[in-house]
């Protein structure tokens, strides 16, 4: 099952700057062979369900290893069976409608 995920990981208890933790996750997600797109409020990920969620688990484990005692993550998880759709397709579809 293919999934498109928006992942936002917030380590708690490590102060206000969290970019080093997010960067560590970006590396994990990319090394997992997933399609990854960083944006201002999270990271969009496209791939096989099991591979995506295995990588998210690795992110939690890594951030705890880096010293964060608590993690608060939010995810949007989209699946569909009616047709194939990539992250790029989703953006194009909205942009095409904006021209009308």
């Amino acid at each position: 099952m293919k999934v498109i995920v928006d992942l936002c990981i917030v380590p708690i208890g490590v102060g206000v700057s969290i970019s080093a933790y997010v960067a560590a996750c970006e590396k994990i997600l990319t090394q997992a062979g997933l399609t990854v797109q960083l944006h201002a409020n999270g990271t969009n990920i496209e791939g096989d369900w099991d591979r995506v969620f295995a990588a998210v688990k690795l992110c939690h484990e890594k951030i705890h290893e880096m010293g964060a005692p608590r993690i608060f993550t939010t995810m949007h998880v989209g699946t569909r069976t009616d047709r194939e759709q990539t992250m790029a397709d989703k953006i194009k579809s909205v942009q095409a409608k904006m021209l009308k």
Copy 2:
């Protein structure tokens, strides 16, 4: 790794009434042996990371089987290494602070 999750599954393309789909997920989560608490905007779940996410995948598979062509799910995922904490602990902790 223990996780506390807030799960909100929204099937798309099946009309405005989605309670039958949520109910099917409640059964899956309960049968998975997880601690489950339905609330007005989702379902709180407490359990082992792998078991929780395996059950969430079953929910997506079941809802597609029931006829939903598209699913939009949001999750809050909390882990911590500093101490054990249950969902009941979280509520009690806030309520205790409200009395002060």
Copy 3:
């Protein structure tokens, strides 16, 4: 416009314990005359759109006043025009389907 919201406010930069901040928000929401239900991963709120969002803004202001330099909030926001529905209705609707 009536709205049902799930609010989860996470202050960042104040350590791992955030229950005192959540408790302060519960008081603000209740004093605003809104229907409020605390759960393990957030707070469900029912009320008029403008009153709900005004109260959420007060929560952010209050938490910053209490010393949090950064706040990360997630919200689920539901509106519908087809019929009246309360938070209690939503739960009952799922529970009724679970009995079938």
Copy 4:
């Protein structure tokens, strides 16, 4: 108060294709003078708290007018008092850490 928001609006009861509704919101947000960045799972918005939330309300009103009987929206809402930070700053901060 300045806010950075991630907005994901899902109309329910209008079938599986929702891009026309998202496109209508993009126009509203842009016309409101906000900094707006569409991504694969939502729209990042930067601006004054009141102006951002007024625009989000207009989006809900517009989508109901377009015929959606129900809307499910998720938002990430970030505020900070320690320093000014733009959406572009957030991305640069993570990217800088990834090079290390």
